[in-house]
Amino acid sequence: MLVPGVLALLPEYAGIADPVAELRAACVAALGSLAGAGSVVLVADAQGERVARSLLGAAGVAADVVPASNAADPASDPAADPEGAAYVVVANGSARRGEKAPGHLDERARGFDEALGRALRQVDAEHLTRLDRELADQLLVGNPDGFVTLGRLLGGGQGAWRAEVDFAADPFGVQYWVMRWTCES
């Protein structure tokens, strides 16, 4: 599962009106599907972990939530994590998609996100594991390590993955995806 690490999703940053209501609803609905999971492994940076834990709480997921052993090192082996665990990756696309975007406009952002989005939908594990990290950093991509780990997870499955897109938009010049992958074997 993939959700973006948007700080506006945290209760401490709530206003009277919710500027991310639609995104929040998509995240909570998607994470709610993990209610029966034995444990949830988070692939996230520190901020992303706060966001994910808050959303899991809002979704009523009572499973053990543990940070991935490989979160800091995408080259390590995801199999070191608990068996049968559900993975939640907290990451997002570029924050430089427009002149009002947090990182202002970078002309390369849309092409980068388009290719990344396609890889997510088509389960192109190789694209994810070979993500251009330097470019991702320049484009203010949220937690690029998460996409690399996601690629390793999707590349390691035995059966065919089915991808579902719950949310894909860039309402504030930042590309968000809420997506689920289930193994159909």
Partner: protein
């Protein structure tokens, strides 16, 4: 304590806008702009749209002038209250009057609050409020006669006087049968007070809040603002809002105003800075 204003109840942390609607040809700020009934009704509709919870309808200007007897005062406000009630069933209607006779008539026509700007000049006003289940605003005038200007008035301690008099008035209202949740106190800026008195009351408004009774402040475009900044009526909004901000920070609950939108923004901003209210919508830096 919950604040009960006739048909409506408000939470402890709610700060309310009371919009002034004059049924007079000669009030100092609007100079008769809503003397015509259709203009007054339009003013009510506008302030409701602006978010005012309360309208304060007055038939006599505060300053000295042509004498308006009770019959004339009633002619100016009673039917008007009934019309406002018909058009705005949930609006809190306050009437600015010191006369019990007028108070009884307006409550029968649908008023929720009697705003006694002259501090209990008519001792039966509280009975009128009690009989109707209306709220009462207990103001401090230092014993001034209605429609007189302060002249060489001095106090040992104007805030102590305001607290003592308004709390005594409040006790009298409760003893008369007014619901304790429906008693509001108001230091009455500029009533029986020179500019220095009104400034001191503003500076120390927190002492009135500390009494536990909800506090109303009526600052809007008044002479203490004008004398502080050397500005005529019509150029006192900024000064009014600065004083409003201090009162909001101290916890005053009701703001009797000409300009609803500006005052609401001021009070909301103060409460947001102080962490009592969340930002309307925050996304910058949090995307």
């Amino acid at each position: 304590m919950t604040l009960k204003l006739g048909r409506r109840e408000f939470d402890d942390d709610a700060m309310l806008m009371m919009a002034i609607v004059n049924r007079t040809p000669d009030s100092f700020f609007d100079k008769g702009a809503t003397w015509a009934e259709d203009k007054a009704l339009a003013r009510v509709a506008q302030v409701v749209a602006d978010g005012a919870e309360i309208v304060d309808i007055g038939g006599i200007k505060a300053a000295p002038g042509v004498e308006i007897d009770a019959a004339e005062e009633k002619a100016r406000v009673v039917d008007f209250v009934a019309q406002v009630r018909a058009e705005h069933p949930d609006l809190v209607i306050s009437v600015d009057t010191w006369r019990a006779e007028v108070g009884r008539a307006v409550c029968e026509a649908g008023a929720d609050v009697l705003n006694d700007a002259w501090g209990g000049a008519d001792p039966e006003l509280v009975d009128a409020a009690a009989e109707a289940g209306a709220a009462v605003i207990c103001t401090h005038t230092g014993g001034a006669t209605p429609r007189t200007r302060p002249f060489r008035v001095e106090y040992d301690d104007v805030v102590a006087s305001a607290i003592a008099d308004t709390m005594a008035y409040a006790d009298r209202a409760v003893a008369a049968g007014v619901d304790p949740r429906s008693v509001v106190i108001d230091p009455a800026h500029d009533f029986g007070k020179n500019t220095f008195h009104s400034l001191e009351v503003t500076r120390r408004i927190g002492e009135m809040v500390d009494t536990g009774r909800p506090v109303l402040v009526s600052l809007s475009n008044k002479d203490f603002v004008g004398e502080s900044l050397d500005l005529p009526v019509g150029e006192r909004l900024v000064g009014t809002l600065a004083a409003t901000a201090l009162c909001a920070a101290a916890g005053a609950r009701i703001y009797r105003v000409h300009q609803v939108v500006e005052t609401r923004q001021t009070v909301d901003m103060v409460n947001t800075v102080l962490g009592r209210r969340r930002p309307a919508r925050a996304i910058r830096g949090l995307q």
